[in-house]
Symmetry: C2
């Protein structure tokens, strides 16, 4: 008996719903914080019912962990793409500036995921935070370290500064923009321009 040719299964329906849930989670977590977010809120934003989330994720913690992982990947891609777009003959300083601009774009108005990452790391249950910092954030930190090392090798920045601290201060300043009061908000390119100028030249009048 010939088997009825099974119609091409819609592999992707599940994947698409899953992606919609992650998008919704990024937006809602970013707004309400980790503990403040109810699964009902995420479900509503994703257009499904709360119980249905459990088909895709086994718990709130698994959902948040996945959202953070995916989000950091998106941020990484956005920044890496911006750097590559400069072409091979850009200066190291140009590359750092491009990275700053791209991260600012991601945090400020492009990616709920990046804002969510910035906003809820401090609120996560210990185990999830540890894993996120250890596993997910490493490559992104490495990307930035490489940028600074190249600038150093190229002689474009001074060799007497603690570059790891500089990197953390720069990314912190950008991540914190999510907390700026509405009236102080500026465009990513403006913020990036101010920060880059501050980073390389300072605002002292004598320099």
């Amino acid at each position: 008996m010939p088997s009825t040719p099974t119609r091409r299964a819609p592999f992707e329906k599940s994947a698409r719903t899953r992606a919609r849930i992650l998008d919704a989670a990024a937006a809602v977590f970013s707004d309400l914080g980790y503990a403040g977010t109810r699964l009902t809120d995420i479900a509503e934003a994703a257009g499904v019912k709360q119980g249905s989330l459990y088909y895709h994720f086994s718990s709130k913690d698994e959902l948040v962990a996945e959202m953070l992982r995916v989000g950091l990947q998106k941020t990484y891609d956005h920044v890496a793409t911006a750097i590559e777009a400069l072409g091979p003959d850009a200066t190291a300083a140009d590359r750092v500036t491009a990275a700053i601009t791209a991260h600012a774009e991601a945090v400020i108005d492009q990616l709920d995921y990046t804002a969510a990452n910035a906003r809820i790391v401090g609120q996560l249950p210990d185990e999830i935070r540890r894993q996120h910092l250890r596993i997910d954030q490493r490559p992104y930190g490495k990307l930035w370290d490489t940028l600074f090392e190249e600038a150093l090798k190229a002689g474009e920045i001074r060799d007497d500064v603690d570059l790891q601290t500089v990197r953390l201060l720069i990314l912190g300043a950008l991540n914190w923009t999510v907390e700026w009061p509405e009236r102080a908000k500026r465009s990513p390119s403006h913020v990036a321009a101010v920060l880059s100028s501050l980073l390389f030249d300072g605002i002292g009048s004598s320099s």
Copy 2:
């Protein structure tokens, strides 16, 4: 019948317990976030039972609002004191540097209150956050604006930069230190030195 002379009522017992509760709230909110903190946690840290909190505060929201207000006042005092300690003949740039150092001290290892403020503003219910930004944070922002304006008038910084954005970037970079991974932590004075040098001189090799 002569009334037994009532012993001097211990006015201050209530005030002391209240202060202990606020201290405990700062520590716990800073650690677990706004929604993640249970009144039981605060009570335990303060050495009282959960129900007893309601003698001093009428709700969780009133408690958190008061903790934020008191905390910002402490931060303000710490920074203002550091500036005044410089004496009248310090340069405007010295005063900015002193403020950066003092804020770093407050955030990093001195005041749970400051860390709590930095960490949970983004998680507050709308009404509380609005009031905190509008009423509590204004004087502190003004203190910083004044510092930068003085530096500008004194000709110690360039006049072509958006100083409000600079101020927000600086404070953001410092506030974000609460999220730094343990291994990256540095002393307040080191962080402040790096940030001040970056702010005034930049790290470019050509300057």
